[in-house]
């Protein structure tokens, strides 16, 4: 009795109608942000790219109350979406267990594909949340050959012993460069992106100001160039992201395939 009551609550939490309204609200919330950004309401919004989200809120959240409120509301909505999706996954898993051996194979695979799609969305939310609250992004320090970089999570200094922009000059300034860092204390050299002492190191490209002096007039002017900055995290999001993407796409294509087979079968 108690179990069926709990299951009914889970079913209501994971209902399609709830998801529908929630996703419309999230869509509207993000669309408003797009318009606000384009209208140039708060130009500081772009500084979010230089920090891990949680660090930005700690350091600048109070100064930019409009952005912080928007992020907080987005967080609440996405959390509710996570609960909705998680409940849906439980309901679908239960349905799958009941359907197993009772229904035909095509119908079972179609239902399983729906479960896989929703499960992958749960994974996406978890991956994004983890990458938003963990790790470290270096907002100012640009990586240069011979220069040092450090991050608060690791006390040893790291020296950049090699920085090669790709051999193919036509590939452009933003294409993945070859970077080697050396731990000054342990003398261990490692390539970036890569692991060192339990941390995953990678770089991101960002616009940095550069002062250029005119040789004729002697006047100085600031231009924007691309600089490489460090991202450190305990998790390499690429593999979980690949896994979740693979699950989502397999689920979506299988669903369409099985749906068409069922329709063809009915005919």
């Amino acid at each position: 009795m108690g179990n069926s009551k709990i299951f009914k609550i889970i079913e209501k939490t994971g209902s399609v109608k709830f998801f529908f309204w929630l996703s419309i609200i999230i869509s509207l919330h993000f669309y408003i942000a797009v318009i606000a950004l384009k209208a140039g309401i708060d130009p500081k919004f772009k500084t979010l790219n230089n920090y891990v989200l949680i660090d930005w809120i700690k350091n600048y959240g109070a100064d930019h109350i409009c952005i912080t409120t928007w992020i907080f509301i987005a967080f609440v909505f996405v959390s509710i979406l996570f609960v909705n999706m998680f409940a849906r996954v439980i309901v679908e898993l239960n349905n799958l267990l009941n359907l197993y051996s009772k229904s035909n194979k095509v119908f079972f695979i179609k239902k399983a594909s729906v479960f896989v799609i929703h499960f992958s969305v749960v994974l996406f939310v978890v991956i994004h949340f983890t990458s938003s609250v963990s790790g470290y992004k270096s907002p100012g320090a640009v990586i240069k050959e011979g220069g040092f970089v450090s991050h608060p999570k690791y006390s040893n200094k790291l020296k950049c012993i090699e920085l090669k922009k790709t051999a193919d000059a036509s590939a452009g300034p933003r294409s993945a460069p070859k970077i080697v860092l050396k731990d000054e204390l342990t003398n261990h050299a490692f390539a970036v992106p890569g692991w060192n002492n339990g941390f995953y190191y990678r770089v991101y490209a960002d616009f940095v100001p550069k002062i250029i002096k005119n040789s004729k007039t002697g006047k100085e002017r600031t231009v924007k160039t691309i600089g490489l900055k460090l991202i450190v995290s305990e998790l390499n999001v690429l593999i979980p992201l690949l896994f979740a993407s693979f699950l989502c796409l397999t689920g979506l294509f299988t669903h369409i395939l099985m749906k068409n087979r069922l329709i063809a079968g009915e005919k």
Binding site: F20, S27, K38, N49, P173, S175, R202
Partner: protein, 265 residues
């Protein structure tokens, strides 16, 4: 060669406009074959223009919002040929060809290939792949919009046709959603490898979330009871209108504000 790319695109649009003119004013059954030939020629010319843009600029025209109208209108015009020859639906064909021309005007004036910013990291095969999948998704959303408009026209006149439109709106939005998800997933993985991060706090990424959530809601409408049958066509219309509006509004509003400032300066 630069002007060849630009003006073949204009020429293709003129051919679509002629087909639309015939559909509206000379729709007597005798012109069917001529319209079909016009559409095939327009698609061929449009294809040559798109190919020239890719060759001259080195990547699929997508980076600036006005440019992605070139490949997206190409996708939609292939759909137009299908609606005219396979489905033989005159109302839908008129709406689709009208949308192709509308998108052309939204993207006007299309820049020359050399005026497009050089983004060398977009020249690889992976960006080429997911950019085109993205374009296909937008073309399907545009077709979904056309079906929705067609539904509003036919709901009181032909119930069977309206029903078939509803079914097709769901299927097309589902396919659009699948392709859009694929392009975003592939783009994210590529962005991690290229830029070190898959997420950037900038309008285009926020817009991607908004589009994804909106069409995710749309494909669930079928599984809900107690909703008016207007909901699906309404969403099909709003969804694509938002995509186009975000793509062009700010460029045009800037131009208009600049124009007004110039007049009163």
């Amino acid at each position: 060669m630069e002007y060849f790319a630009k003006y073949t695109y204009f020429f293709a649009m003129m051919l679509y406009a002629s087909a639309l003119f015939l559909m509206f004013f000379k729709d007597n059954g005798k012109t069917d074959k001529l319209i079909k030939q016009l559409l095939i020629t327009a698609i061929a010319v449009h294809g040559v223009s798109l190919f020239s843009y890719i060759i001259l600029s080195g990547y699929v025209p997508l980076h600036k919002r006005r440019q992605y109208m070139i490949p997206t209108t190409f996708g939609l015009s292939i759909i137009l040929l299908f609606t005219w020859t396979k489905y033989k639906n005159r109302l839908l064909s008129k709406i689709v060809s009208f949308t192709v021309l509308f998108m052309f005007f939204c993207g006007f004036p299309v820049p020359l290939p050399s005026e497009m910013p050089s983004i060398s990291c977009l020249t690889g095969i992976e960006p080429f792949l997911w950019h085109n999948i993205y374009n296909m998704a937008v073309a399907l959303f545009a077709y979904c919009f056309c079906l929705s408009i067609a539904w509003f026209f036919s709901q009181n006149k032909n119930e069977a046709e309206a029903k078939s439109f509803i079914k097709r709106i769901h299927n097309v939005s589902l396919w659009g959603f699948v392709l859009f998800t694929f392009s975003q997933a592939a783009g994210s993985v590529w962005a991690i490898a290229e830029f070190g991060d898959y997420w950037q706090w900038k309008p285009i990424h926020l817009m991607s979330v908004a589009i994804w959530m909106f069409y995710a809601a749309m494909i669930h409408v079928k599984y809900m009871s107690g909703f008016s049958k207007k909901v699906l066509p309404l969403m099909g219309t709003i969804g694509f209108a938002c995509i186009v509006w975000w793509g062009i509004y700010f460029d045009y509003s800037k131009n208009i504000i600049g124009f007004i400032k110039g007049v009163f300066a």
